[in-house]
C-alpha cells in the first residue's frame, strides 16, 4: 500500500502535467489553426509546407524564435525589458489554475477534482490576475524606449482597464445566480440550464469584453500594424517576442474557458463525457475569436472607448439591477 502523500504527489503531477501540456500545445496549435482558418477565409491555403498539412509549423516557429537574435534597444531599461514578457506569459499561464475543466474523476480510489486548485475565491483570483496582466504590456512598452511601443502600451492600458470594468460588471449577475465565487460551484449551478440562456445580456457583454481583453481584432488598436507598427512589442525579438505571443494565445484559451465556465455550463452536457464537452465549448469560442478576426475591421480609437464606456458599462450596470430585481421577485 502506498503512503498517502505519494498518491497526492502523483495525482498533482498528473494533473499539472496534463494542464501544462494542454495549455502550451494548445496555444501552439491555436496559432496554426488561426493561420489555417484565416487563410481559408481569405481564399488561400495557410501554412502547409512543414510536415503533413503543416502540422509541424508550431515546432518550426518555436525553433526559429529560439535561434533569433535577442537584443535590447539602446537606452531601454534592460531589466524591465527582460521581465515584462515574463509577466505577460506567467500571468496567462497561472490563471488556468482555478478553471475546472471536467467533472471529478476517480483515480487510485480517490476523488480528484479536475481543477488545479478550487479556490473559494476563484473568480476574484481570475479578476486579480487579469488586472495584473496589464503590467507586462505597460512595462514592456515603457522599457523599450520607442515611441511606437509607448503609444501601443498606453492604448493597451486604457483599453484593458475600460473593458475590464464591463467584464467585471457582467460577472456580477453570474455571482447573483450561482451565489458563489468558486468556479466549480458556478458550473454546478448550471447543471440544467446554462447562464447564457438565463441572462443573455450578461453573456454578450462578457463575450465582447473578453474579445477586447484579448487585444484581438476588432479591438487590436494597441498593436494596429498600419499605425504603430506592432504596438508595445515593436522592439521585441526572438523568444521574448515569443513570450508575448504565447501569452496572448494562452490568454485566448483561458478567456474562452472562462466564457465556457461562467456562461455555457462548463463540462455539463448530454451523452458525451464532461471533459469532451468542456473542450468542445472552449474550441467553439476560440473559433469565434478567429472568425471575428477574419470578418471584422478594426475599431477606431474613439469608437473603441465610446463603445466600452457608453454602451457596455451602462448595459452591464443595468443588467445587474434588473437581474437582482427578477431574482428578488422569484424568491417571493
Amino acid at each position: 500500500m502506498m503512503p498517502d502523500w505519494i498518491i497526492t504527489a502523483i495525482l498533482v503531477a498528473i494533473k499539472l502535467g496534463f494542464v501544462l501540456a494542454l495549455l502550451l500545445t494548445g496555444a501552439a496549435y491555436l496559432v496554426l489553426a488561426e493561420r489555417k482558418l484565416l487563410g481559408r477565409m481569405q481564399l488561400r491555403y495557410g501554412p502547409n509546407r512543414v510536415g503533413p498539412f503543416g502540422l509541424m509549423q508550431p515546432l518550426a516557429d518555436a525553433v526559429k524564435l529560439l535561434m533569433k537574435e535577442d537584443f535590447i534597444p539602446a537606452q531601454g531599461d534592460k531589466v524591465l525589458f527582460f521581465i515584462a514578457p515574463g509577466i505577460a506569459a506567467v500571468t496567462a499561464l497561472i490563471t488556468f489554475a482555478v478553471i475546472p475543466f471536467g467533472p471529478p474523476l476517480r483515480l487510485f480510489g480517490r476523488e480528484m477534482p479536475l481543477v488545479v486548485c478550487d479556490l473559494n475565491i476563484g473568480l476574484l483570483y481570475f479578476l486579480g490576475l487579469s488586472s495584473l496582466a496589464v503590467y507586462g504590456i505597460a512595462l514592456g512598452g515603457w522599457a523599450s524606449n520607442s515611441k511606437y511601443a509607448l503609444l501601443g502600451s498606453i492604448r493597451a492600458l486604457a483599453q484593458l482597464i475600460s473593458y475590464e470594468l464591463s467584464m467585471g460588471l457582467s460577472i456580477v449577475p453570474v455571482v447573483l445566480m450561482a451565489r458563489s465565487f468558486s468556479l466549480t460551484e458556478i458550473v454546478n449551478a448550471q447543471t440544467h440550464i446554462p447562464f447564457a440562456l438565463l441572462n443573455p445580456p450578461a453573456f454578450l457583454v462578457f463575450l465582447i469584453s473578453v474579445l477586447a481583453e484579448s487585444k484581438r481584432t476588432p479591438f487590436d488598436i494597441p498593436e494596429a500594424e498600419n499605425e504603430i507598427v506592432a504596438g508595445f512589442h515593436t522592439e521585441y525579438s526572438g523568444m521574448r517576442f515569443g513570450m508575448f505571443f504565447v501569452g496572448e494565445y494562452i490568454n485566448v484559451i483561458i478567456l474562452s474557458s472562462m466564457v465556457t465556465v461562467l456562461f455555457l455550463g462548463g463540462w455539463h452536457g448530454p451523452l458525451l463525457p464532461g471533459i469532451v464537452w468542456f473542450f468542445g465549448k472552449v474550441m467553439l469560442i476560440a473559433f469565434l475569436f478567429i472568425w471575428t478576426r477574419g470578418t471584422l475591421p478594426r475599431f477606431r480609437y474613439d469608437q473603441l472607448m465610446h463603445f466600452g464606456w457608453k454602451v457596455l458599462v451602462p448595459i452591464a450596470l443595468l443588467n445587474v439591477v434588473v437581474t437582482g430585481a427578477i431574482l428578488l421577485l422569484l424568491q417571493g
Binding site: 535561434m67 515574463g86 522592439e235 424568491q331
Partner: protein
C-alpha cells in the same frame, strides 16, 4: 488543505521557471551581432527623432481615475451578489441606492464630455 493549495504553488513555480528558462536558453543559442543601427529604436527606418518619453493626453488620466471609481463599485458588488439571497429586499434597495448615487456621477461626467474622444 495542503492537497488543494500545493498544485497552484507548483504551477506558479513551473510558469516562472518556463519563462526564465526559455529566455535564457534563447539568449544562449541565439546569435549576437549588435550594431548601433540595429539597437536604435525602430522608427520606420529613419533615425530616431526626439525622445520616446512624450507627454500623453490628459484624457487617459480621467479614464484611469474613472476606472478606479467604478472598479471599487464593482468590488463592492461581488460580496453583495454572493449574499444576495440572505440580504433580501434590504440588500437590494441598499445596492440600488449605491448604484444610483454612482450613476449620478457617471451621467454628470458623460454630459460634461469626459467620455468624449476627439
Amino acid at each position: 488543505m495542503l492537497d488543494s493549495y500545493l498544485p497552484i504553488i507548483v504551477l506558479i513555480g513551473i510558469a516562472v521557471g518556463f519563462a526564465i528558462c526559455t529566455t535564457i536558453f534563447s539568449r544562449l543559442i541565439g546569435q549576437k551581432k549588435p550594431t548601433e543601427v540595429k539597437l536604435a529604436p525602430y522608427e520606420c527606418g529613419m533615425p530616431p527623432v526626439g525622445s520616446a518619453r512624450e507627454r500623453m493626453s490628459m484624457k487617459f488620466y480621467i479614464i484611469a481615475m474613472l476606472f478606479i471609481v467604478f472598479d471599487i463599485e464593482a468590488v463592492f458588488l461581488y460580496p453583495w451578489a454572493v449574499m444576495f439571497k440572505k440580504l433580501g429586499l434590504f440588500g437590494f434597495v441598499e445596492m440600488g441606492v449605491f448604484i444610483a448615487i454612482l450613476l449620478v456621477g457617471y451621467i454628470y461626467v458623460w454630459k460634461k464630455g469626459a467620455l468624449e474622444w476627439e
